[in-house]
């Protein structure tokens, strides 16, 4: 715990200041997680949160972390978004002797105290198995990636799907050449192009729900809602609704920003109070279908 900082009033009474360094808040998943962290802190009481946004600029993330350290926070939570690593930021935190908890994104390099996030490859496999089961006679399955190419989370999800489907007889995989940029508008245009080149698609997997929601519209517009089924990732509210409504959106793998955010904050507090904690914690990602979708709907959730 911290010493005599202006803002860091840490102590044995369990009051802490925790900094949150977001790489970007420009996506609902990320702003949802940021809110979940704040909400959890409020629930716990006596914890002050200082949240920063690097607006997608890696150097700014490093500066923000330095800013946080100069404000003498007790711990830092990093939501790295599409960033693959942030050695400078991690080094700064380490040399300040503060713990750092990564949420969602696990960095490839550098020392961190603890990570909480999903097993993306597992989510992909789970989706793959579901699709294989829904397509016993095989068929064309399209994959829509978020991009850019250096995005390891998306890669893991796609690899998961591929690892299951590639072997299956009768199934052909079609990877869209361009990226959907993790948004519904991107999902829509990429799906439109896919449908033009592959009229006989049977299913589409998107690396997140937002893209699937756009893809679903493109499929509906093309009058193929009965032909193409959809599988996504995240458990975004609109996706849950589509699944529950019995549309051709059949499945998603839960990657709950609310849960991961809350767990991240809990983990930081645990560390600060001296507990020994697991280094890497995989948050389970149950498969969500029409049967169980209702139980994951959370009107108070931020994502």
């Amino acid at each position: 715990s911290s010493g005599s900082g202006d803002t860091g009033a840490a102590g044995d009474d369990g009051s802490y200041t925790i900094g949150v360094a977001n790489f970007t808040l420009g996506g609902p998943y990320f702003s949802g997680m940021d809110k979940a962290i704040a909400a959890e802190a409020k629930k716990k009481g006596k914890i002050e949160i200082i949240s920063t946004d690097a607006n997608g600029d890696a150097a700014k993330l490093a500066s923000n972390v330095e800013d946080l350290l100069s404000k003498n926070v007790d711990a830092v939570i990093i939501s790295g978004g599409p960033l693959e690593s942030a050695p400078a930021a991690l080094n700064a935190i380490n040399s300040a002797g503060k713990p750092v908890v990564l949420v969602d994104r696990k960095f490839q390099t550098g020392e961190y105290t603890s990570w909480i996030g999903p097993d993306n490859e597992a989510i992909g496999r789970q989706n793959g198995e579901f699709l294989a089961q829904k397509l016993p006679d095989g068929g064309k399955v399209a994959i829509i990636k978020g991009g850019p190419a250096d995005n390891s989370i998306g890669l893991a999800r796609t690899n998961g799907v591929k690892s299951v489907l590639q072997g299956k007889t009768g199934i052909t995989l079609v990877e869209a050449p361009d990226f959907g940029n993790w948004g519904s508008d991107g999902g829509l245009t990429v799906m439109e192009s896919l449908l033009a080149t592959n009229a006989d698609l049977k299913a589409v997997f998107c690396e997140n729900d937002a893209m699937c929601l756009g893809a679903q519209r493109a499929i509906a517009d093309a009058g193929k809602a009965d032909q193409v089924i959809i599988a996504g990732v995240d458990g975004q509210a609109e996706a849950l609704k589509a699944i529950l409504d019995g549309t051709n959106y059949l499945v998603t793998g839960l990657n709950d920003a609310d849960v991961i955010g809350a767990m991240g904050l809990d983990r930081a507090v645990e560390i600060l109070s001296g507990a020994t904690v697991e280094k890497d914690t995989v948050v389970p990602s149950p498969m969500i279908t029409k049967e169980n979708a209702a139980q994951y709907q959370n009107p108070d959730g931020s994502f």
Binding site: G27, S31, D185, S193, T197
Partner: protein, 330 residues
């Protein structure tokens, strides 16, 4: 001195250097070359990509040109005055999410109108700052890009997906094989063409880009016309935002990043000068076609995303090179 000249001197016939083919004061060689270029692109596409001429793909093309098309027309108007509007992408996001947010409480057409009006409002503010205080358009609209994007997120951090299926009509309905949204865009170009060539405010906007001081001396209110230009751009962006949200079915505060670049590119590919005063509605539409065709073709060929980027840039250079070479030669 020459003044005392008694005999009427021969006046040489002029103008002397003109392109070889002239029709109604335009050198049609450049325009023809441009049409030929687009035709060539289409023919190459049709011959090399089997799926290019399928109805789905053609409908796709028609849909995919809507956003860039709408933004490009508005951008052209601003570029003609010698300005630029970098804020259009953010306006797209704001008007879309605003409309989607209002749909729950208001009739859909009203909500959509409000979305467009928000674009008009932002355009007005841009124009007023630029015209009234003579600030550089680039920085004003760059600041607007930032502020309006922020406002879109302030309005709603999360995407909004209206339930009412009527919300999707504008974006998904078709008239025969032609999407309604495409017709909306074509109507904007048609009306816009008449506006710029045959109405006094339209001509004033063109003239301002050529020489604002002269226009001022002619007793025309330059400021008011500059404001008008940015308002038109804002309106187009607002409309594009509404159409896009309706098409995607979900409005996101994060859409539209870098949309302004494609719109500007379309204008310049169509021969518009960023110094103002030169640009044509038809050629800008051609520029939109070129961009949409490039994207479509690269996708049909299945070119990998980052190679797509590499090629897209190179093709744009090639297109303006061809245009340029032709212009110099004629």
């Amino acid at each position: 001195m020459t003044g005392q000249l008694t005999e009427p001197a021969l006046t040489p016939t002029e103008p002397r250097r003109l392109p070889r083919l002239v029709l109604a004061g335009r050198d049609i060689t450049v325009a023809t070359a441009f049409v030929a270029l687009i035709a060539l692109l289409v023919v190459v596409a049709a011959l090399t990509a089997e799926t290019f001429l399928t109805p789905t793909n053609l409908t796709n093309l028609l849909k995919q040109m809507v956003t860039t098309g709408l933004l490009s027309f508005g951008m052209l108007v601003v570029i003609l005055t010698g300005g630029i509007d970098l804020s259009v992408g953010s306006i797209v996001a704001f008007s879309g999410i605003l409309t989607a947010g209002l749909v729950s409480g208001l009739p859909i057409p009203v909500a959509m109108a409000v979305g467009v009006v928000s674009g008009i409002g932002f355009g007005l503010i841009n124009g007023a700052l630029i015209a009234r205080f003579e600030l550089a358009p680039f920085v004003v609209t760059l600041a607007a890009l930032t502020t309006i994007r922020g406002l879109a997120f302030v309005y709603s951090e999360v995407p909004i997906a209206p339930e009412d299926p009527g919300f999707f009509t504008l974006g998904s309905a078709t008239l025969g094989p032609v999407p309604v949204s495409t017709l909306v865009m074509l109507a904007v170009f048609a009306v816009g063409g008449v506006f710029l060539t045959r109405t006094p405010p339209g001509r004033s906007i063109v003239a301002i880009g050529g020489n604002a001081e002269t226009v001022r001396l002619a007793g025309i209110n330059v400021r008011r016309h500059v404001v008008l230009a940015y308002t038109i751009s804002g309106a187009c962006a607002g409309l594009a935002g509404v159409v896009l949200a309706s098409r995607v079915g979900i409005a996101q505060p994060s859409v539209g990043v870098a949309f302004e670049l494609d719109a500007i590119a379309a204008c310049v590919i169509g021969g518009a000068s960023l110094a103002g005063g030169r640009g044509s509605v038809r050629a800008t539409f051609g520029g939109v076609l070129v961009l949409v065709l490039i994207n479509n073709l690269l996708n049909l060929y299945g070119v990998q995303s980052f190679w797509q980027q590499v090629l897209k840039g190179l093709i744009i250079i090639a297109v303006i090179l061809v245009q340029r070479t032709n212009r110099v030669r004629s």
